[in-house]
């Protein structure tokens, strides 16, 4: 097998791990906006823990998609056309989340904020579920023919793998974001997140563990991938113990390592398949039949090898710059925007404290 194709399989695994581990807490914080508090200031504390970084984290997803196109176009073309409907829904979720984060604080009425809070929460939930479902389906198989096109209707993918994968990413994001908020927030948000990380997070990680296990059983696994599964479960257990001891940093590392090792075990378990066909194993998309030419893969490998460490460097720096916990006291007062026009101001000014 072409070593460059293996390299690119690994790079794409790294890009998806980057997305799930970094954007995982952004999506989880987004979902928690729906239920974790009723207090506006606490919601803003939560939102501002991810404020400076969420957009940069989302680029991992974009680059993972583009990387699939650049290295395995057959995979990119088949997976996304077969999963046309869930990907459309995922994109709408991501669009909704992005504009909601940015626009929520731009108008100060309860109704406006309520709409965009729902946009952040539901957008995050929808995106996490659909992306999880899609990843589970590419690891466990889809009905594709010899050209990589779908056999069956638009909803033929709907089944247990999609549900387990969807719940896996939703659950992981919730658990991961609880330890993230434990590190990045202060006040009631931090307390509640710590409680969640100790009490509910282990339950949230069950679907992800089930998915990882399913991939091993489905494809037979190998020593390496089984080892990663075991390590992932150990990391989750470690995170849980630390969360119960209120060691916030270690708990975060434990759950994050579970995400990293779990996704790694799934990619290792799939190897060398990219998208197995449930119709006929002869139609499987694999490293051998879906990879680009060695020239393209070689050029892209060189550029990735140089740029990825730089990206990790400046993203790490951004976390360093914003390393302080966000406390309720750091949240500025809502700024009411009034027209700067003399004769319009009386009409637009709200009633005092109304």
């Amino acid at each position: 097998m072409e070593p460059l194709a293996i390299t690119w399989f690994a790079i794409i695994a790294v890009l998806w791990i980057g997305f799930l581990v970094l954007e995982g807490f952004d999506l989880g914080v987004g979902m928690r906006m729906l239920f974790a508090t009723r207090d506006e200031r606490e919601r803003r504390v939560m939102l501002n823990t991810i404020g400076p970084v969420w957009d940069g984290n989302e680029v991992w997803l974009i680059t993972a998609g583009a990387g699939m196109f650049a290295a395995f176009p057959e995979w990119y073309a088949s997976l996304f056309s077969v999963l046309y409907v869930p990907l459309t829904v995922a994109l709408v979720g991501l669009i909704l989340r992005a504009v909601s984060i940015e626009w929520r604080g731009k108008v100060h009425t309860a109704r406006w904020r309520g709409w965009w809070t729902a946009g952040i929460g539901l957008g995050s939930l929808i995106a996490a579920f659909c992306i999880g479902a899609m990843l589970a389906l590419t690891s466990l198989g889809l009905p594709i023919d010899g050209n990589g096109d779908r056999v069956g209707g638009p909803f033929v993918w709907l089944g247990w793998p999609a549900v387990v994968g969807g719940l896996a990413v939703v659950g992981f994001s919730l658990a991961h974001s609880a330890t993230f908020l434990g590190l990045k927030a202060d006040g009631p948000v931090r307390e509640r997140a710590a409680l969640f990380a100790a009490r509910w997070a282990p339950l949230c990680l069950v679907p992800a563990a089930a998915w990882a296990l399913w991939v091993q059983l489905e494809h037979g696994g190998n020593a390496g991938s089984w080892m990663l599964v075991v390590l992932a479960v150990v990391a989750a257990g470690f995170g849980w113990v630390q969360a119960r001891r209120r060691r916030e940093g270690l708990a975060f590392i434990g759950y994050a390592a579970f995400g990293l090792l779990g996704v790694a075990s799934i990619f290792a378990g799939m190897f060398p398949r990219l998208l197995p066909s449930t119709v006929d194993a002869a139609f499987d998309l694999t490293l051998a039949n879906a990879a680009n030419s060695p020239y393209t893969l070689g050029v892209m490998t060189v550029i990735t090898a140089i740029s990825l460490p730089v990206i990790l460097g400046y993203q790490a720096w951004s976390y360093w710059v914003f390393r302080r916990r966000v406390t309720p006291g750091m949240i500025p007062e809502a700024h009411i925007v009034l027209p700067a026009i003399l004769r319009d101001r009386d009409a637009a000014a709200p009633a005092p404290h109304g």
Partner: protein
């Protein structure tokens, strides 16, 4: 409707929409980076205010560009899987490079810039903005490299009927891409220029209307001598005032708008000249690389060298017998295409048989082409679109530059005229370069039809690399799915555009204070009140230094 038609409408709608947001991001980002650089160098508060105000509008717009860009990244695979498979060896690379080399930097550093006020050294904070802006320009470059490969495939050889990349450098330095990216970036600067003019005009006009700024005649004795100065110097002078009741409506505020307006006007004029030069370069390349597109842009049916000013015919026609040319400039077209006055440019009636000869009269009878297999190929793009798209682009660009010139002259006295109609025109003018950009893209994409990857006409070593659009669509996706996505996305996009416009209008009307809460005493309830008293209201806060300068 066929799956192909729906997929094309979807690509058209989502891409045009995305490109309503992107030019403002590209142009305004550069503008704000320049303003912040001046602020860091001079410490002049006026420039800080500009950065904050224009930066707020920039971010409201930026996010919608990011959000809709996600669709662009994935829809090749979703709706155009055959295209993705055919071009995958070469087309995916620039997209991945965009992510790795441009988009990561843009998004990460923009986050640092937004939240970094007061946390980073001024110079470092400025550097973060420059990284974000350079990232966005680099992103435009990589996307245009990808698009230009569809207009002019280079750096590949055909292996088993599929283009395989042999030279990434040739792909990255594709002449079509270099011409198109410079053209697009100049176009984006025109957008930003008119945005600055329109909004600044509005505020200068409101200041006059509110009686804050007044205009007095310059006594004849103080006027400068000389013919040129007599013409360019204003006969009036502005007395800048302030409105103590309105946060931010002070003397510095006048400078914010006047400087922004003039900077925008100069930028729009210079950038228009830039689009002219790069557009000329593009026309010459198009004449070599896509002669049919050039001919259909001119509705030039017969080989000749006249540039059409007005041609009429049946809209949507792809048939030359309907076209009647009313006004034309003899010789000009040949000059535009080759640099030689009067040189002949091939017309449609000569090109069509050539194309039929080279690429076949019918679409191959292959099951890949679905219901299009064996059908006749229409090599002439819809001339109504290409002809008017081309003219709309140039015309709107010209009107814009003229408008910017007029704006400079009308504001030579230090403020804008009182006329509400000129103010409205200035605001309406914001839309002109947006429309021009869109017209240009529609022209170049429709003009490429019936190909999704256009063939190189001359034997160039890269021959036979082309793909019909009809063959590119996903075979496995149903019309129902495509309709679902196009309706969903269009509806979501429409609602978001309404919200974006609402927010932009709200923050524009708020003036600088809308982006600088520090200009307004906290907890105003209409009657002002002094700053010390309002500080007490914040007694429940931690130390004031801890409060985030920006927070969602």
């Amino acid at each position: 409707m066929e799956v192909l038609d729906i997929a094309r409408w979807q690509f058209g709608i989502t891409t045009v929409y995305h490109f309503m947001l992107v030019p403002l991001t590209l142009g305004l980002g550069m503008t704000i980076a320049i303003m912040q650089s001046i602020w860091v160098r001079t410490g002049d508060e006026k420039f800080l205010r500009m950065v904050k105000f224009w930066g707020k509008l920039y971010l409201i717009n930026f996010i919608l560009g990011v959000a809709t860009g996600l669709v662009q990244e994935f829809q090749f695979g979703m709706a155009w899987s055959e295209y993705s498979r055919f071009v995958g060896d070469v087309f995916g690379a620039p997209l991945a490079l965009e992510g790795l080399l441009a988009f990561f930097a843009e998004s990460t550093f923009l986050g640092i810039w937004i939240f970094g006020w007061g946390r980073l050294r001024k110079s470092l904070h400025l550097a973060a903005l420059w990284c974000a802006v350079v990232g966005s320009w680099a992103s435009a470059y990589f996307i245009i490299v990808a698009n230009s490969w569809m207009q002019h495939p280079v750096g590949v050889e055909l292996v088993d009927g599929r283009p395989v990349m042999t030279d990434i450098w040739a792909v990255l330095t594709n002449s079509t891409a270099l011409a198109a990216v410079t053209h697009t970036l100049f176009g984006a600067l025109i957008v930003a220029g008119m945005f600055l003019i329109g909004i600044s005009w509005y505020h200068l006009w409101q200041r006059r209307r509110d009686g804050i700024d007044t205009v007095v005649p310059v006594p004849p004795g103080e006027r400068r001598a000389g013919l040129i100065r007599r013409l360019t110097d204003a006969s009036t002078r502005v007395i800048v005032g302030e409105a103590p009741g309105v946060p931010g409506r002070d003397r510095a505020d006048h400078g914010v708008w006047l400087w922004s307006l003039r900077f925008g006007a100069v930028m729009a004029i210079v950038a228009f000249a830039g689009t002219g030069l790069t557009g000329d370069w593009q026309a010459k390349l198009m004449y070599e690389q896509q002669p049919m597109k050039m001919a259909s842009a001119e509705a030039a049916c017969h080989t000749g060298s006249s540039f059409s000013i007005l041609s009429l015919g049946d809209p949507g026609s792809t048939d030359c017998s309907d076209v009647v040319t009313l006004i034309e400039i003899p010789g000009a077209l040949g000059f535009l295409a080759t640099g030689e006055w009067g040189a002949d440019m091939p017309g449609i009636s000569d090109l069509e048989p050539q194309y039929q000869n080279q690429y076949g009269e019918t679409i191959p009878d292959d099951e890949l082409y679905g219901s299009f297999a064996g059908s006749e190929v229409q090599y002439v793009p819809p001339m109504w679109v290409t002809y008017w798209g081309f003219r709309l682009m140039i015309g709107l660009g010209g009107i814009t530059a003229f408008g910017a010139l007029v704006a400079l002259w009308l504001t030579r006295g230090g403020t804008v005229p009182r006329s509400p109609w000129i103010m409205r025109l200035a605001i309406l003018g914001i839309l002109a370069p947006f429309a021009g950009n869109i017209a240009g893209w529609i022209f170049t994409e429709i003009g490429r039809q019936p190909f999704v990857v256009a063939p190189n006409p001359d034997p160039s070593g890269i021959d036979g690399v082309f793909m019909f659009t009809a063959a590119a669509v996903s075979p496995g996706v149903t019309a129902g799915e495509m309709l679902f996505s196009v309706i969903t996305l269009t509806a979501v996009y429409a609602v978001l555009m309404v919200v974006e416009l609402f927010l932009l209008v709200k923050y524009v009307r708020g003036g600088v204070a809308s982006a600088m809460p520090e200009l307004a005493p906290a907890h105003r309830d209409g009657d002002g009140g002094d700053d010390d008293a309002s500080d007490d209201v914040d007694g429940d806060r931690d130390r004031r230094d801890d409060v985030l300068a920006f927070a969602y």
